[in-house]
């Protein structure tokens, strides 16, 4: 059964406190925001533990050989959360850490949405919502045809899955029994215009993914140990794609930004705000 919004809130409050690595990664996000003077604040911060666990514990990758054939593929379909991806790519050595300071600069490789071909380790250019899952389905089919054991991870937003193309892709993944594919929903419950419950309610979300043929699990998207345990169980069911609904908090780690749609994106991040962010993440 799907979790009620009330139950989801219980999970949120039960999240363990952020450890030093989670705070450090968030400070790197702030470094990017400071460099660019702008960015999707809340949308990046809800993703940190998901990206951290993927890159620390789950994905088979080679930062010095980003095109390594047998790697796992991770598509950040909610491309606007790219700072969370960029900090992991910097942390793992795909790109130098200093690159974060160039976020959105004219000649930077790091734009406000990630581009494949420019940034080592980025599998697909995303930003227009609803594209990543189909591309992931194509990659999963390709892995099967090439008899590679690469796994494909596609991370979507919650507002993003308003898009009909996501559900076209979901039907297709299920039809092809793609158990090498996992969709991860960053369910922070706030889209750009406001709460998902008001703008376009997704509930019952677990039932939806199950109905589309995905073996589906829910997890506290800020609980590192739980996330590790969930990813370790993949695929959840043979011959079925997997869905992981991650209950997260938009703006997680910045008390003044948490659960506030006004922090989805900031077109201006002035120095005093940067100082407040760093202070909150000490």
């Amino acid at each position: 059964m799907a979790m009620t919004a009330e139950a989801a809130e219980v999970i949120e409050t039960a999240s363990p406190p952020l450890d030093e690595r989670s705070k450090y990664l968030r400070r790197l996000v702030v470094r990017g925001l400071e460099g660019g003077g702008r960015g999707h604040v809340g949308s990046s911060l809800s993703l940190i533990e998901i990206m951290r666990v993927l890159y620390d514990d789950v994905l088979r990758h080679r930062p010095k050989d980003p095109q390594w054939r047998n790697r796992d593929r991770m598509i950040l379909s909610k491309g606007h959360g790219c700072l969370a991806l960029y900090v992991m790519l910097a942390d793992k050595g795909f790109i130098p850490l200093e690159t974060l300071d160039t976020f959105c600069h004219r000649d930077s490789i790091l734009g406000g949405h990630p581009e494949a071909g420019k940034i080592p380790g980025v599998e697909a250019s995303t930003g227009a919502l609803g594209h990543g899952l189909s591309v992931g389905v194509g990659m999963a089919l390709a892995a099967r045809m090439q008899e590679r054991d690469s796994r494909i991870f596609v991370c979507t937003g919650d507002g993003e899955i308003n898009e009909g193309s996501i559900w076209e892709a979901a039907m297709c993944a299920s039809k092809h029994k793609l158990d090498n594919l996992a969709v991860i929903v960053d369910y922070n419950k706030i889209q750009s215009a406001g709460p998902t419950r008001e703008i376009q309610d997704l509930e019952p979300l677990v039932d939806k993914w199950e109905a589309f043929g995905f073996a589906t699990t829910e997890v506290d998207g800020h609980d590192v140990a739980e996330l590790r345990a969930v990813f370790r169980r993949l695929p959840f069911s043979p011959q079925r794609p997997s869905a992981i609904i991650c209950h997260t908090v938009k703006g997680k780690g910045l008390p003044f930004a948490e659960n506030d749609a006004n922090w989805h994106h900031k077109a201006k991040v002035p120095p005093e705000l940067v100082a407040d962010m760093y202070a909150a993440l000490r």
Binding site: E115, A116, G117, E123, A124, S125, G127, A128, G130, H131, L133, S134, V135, G136, V137, G138, M139, A140, L141, A142, A143, R144, M145, Q146, G164, S165, E168, A169, M171, C172, K175
Partner: protein
């Protein structure tokens, strides 16, 4: 032309393991041979055009060359953002085969009439646009289509199209073919794409009977446009006429005139663009009925040209 195109996908699949076919919801038994011989590389994914384009992109990222097929309006309009982002931004070698380019689906009405496909496809960076004139030319094009590094939109005509292309002319991507050479020094030049080349050849014959000497240049590749051929044939032309089965806005004729205006300045020849107007067709019938409404049948093309020339002569 459609059968030839799809049969060529099968032929290419036999020769090259990179070839994949993806359809949406097409005829039962389509490419049955390929399905039987290469079931892992034959996909029919239902009425999910956006998804189909994304899948093709994912496969192409992993080294495949997907040939995607559905009705032209749906492979262009319905999933335009996927085509733009997944294919063109990533610059991937995916081939989009659009059934029923132009007015082919006349009896089915405006939802199925691909009148602006060339316009919107050629507007996308990295996208090539091909509209061959008959089945043998389709074969020659498809033979070389595998290794083009970028996406290609392939506009199909009705099928059973009159064969006017000649093997000796070959097929070079992005190179126009002069199908008929005028003998005089300041000829009329008809520039066309797709099956309008066939109509132009017939129109040129009619004009010949009236004493007007016309060349016909066939642009099977609308983008990249063979600029050299446009400029060479426009030089000293008495009249340049572009003919296409698509809207005038941003189409083939627009590409030609953009170039001529920029390159020829004061020496610009007189130009007539024959194309579809800025309107959805309201009639049904068959393709030729609509072509007639829009003045694109051979006798109408010839009449437009001869009227223009006779007025010119009267002024002179």
């Amino acid at each position: 032309m459609r059968n030839t195109c799809l049969n060529m996908v099968y032929e290419l699949a036999k020769r090259d393991p990179r070839v994949v076919f993806i359809g949406s919801d097409l005829s039962p038994g389509l490419l049955a041979g390929m399905k039987q011989d290469y079931p892992n590389r034959w996909f029919m994914e239902g009425v999910t055009e956006a998804n189909v384009i994304g899948i093709a992109a994912g496969m192409a990222k992993e080294g495949y060359v997907p040939y995607v097929n559905t009705i032209a309006t749906f492979i262009t309009r319905r999933c335009y953002e996927q085509v733009a982002i997944d294919l063109c931004l990533h610059d991937l070698p995916v081939r989009l085969i659009g059934n029923g380019g132009g007015l082919v689906y006349a009896p089915l009405g405006p939802t199925h009439l691909a009148i602006e496909d060339m316009t919107i496809m050629r507007a996308l960076p990295n996208m090539a646009v091909v509209a061959v004139c008959d089945a043998p030319e389709m074969t020659r094009f498809m033979e070389g289509s595998l290794d083009w590094p970028s996406p290609i939109y392939i506009r199909l005509a009705k099928g059973g199209d009159l064969v006017v292309s000649r093997p000796e002319n070959g097929f070079t991507f992005g190179k126009a073919i002069r199908m008929r050479k005028a003998r005089g020094r300041d000829p009329v030049v008809l520039m066309a794409t797709g099956v309008m080349t066939t109509n132009c050849l017939a129109a040129a014959d009619l004009l010949g009977r009236e004493g007007y000497d016309a060349s016909v240049v066939h642009f099977h590749t609308v983008k990249p446009l063979d600029e050299e051929a446009v400029l060479e044939h426009a030089d000293n032309a008495r009249l340049v006429v572009t003919v296409e089965e698509g809207v005038a806005i941003g189409g083939f004729g627009s590409a030609v005139t953009d170039l001529l205006v920029e390159e020829m300045g004061q020496s610009l020849p007189r130009i007539i663009r024959l194309a579809l107007p800025d309107a959805f067709p309201h009639k049904y019938g068959v393709q030729n009925d609509l072509l007639e409404i829009y003045g694109l049948m051979p006798n109408q093309i010839a009449a437009t040209v001869s009227n223009a020339l006779s007025k010119e002569e009267m002024v002179a």
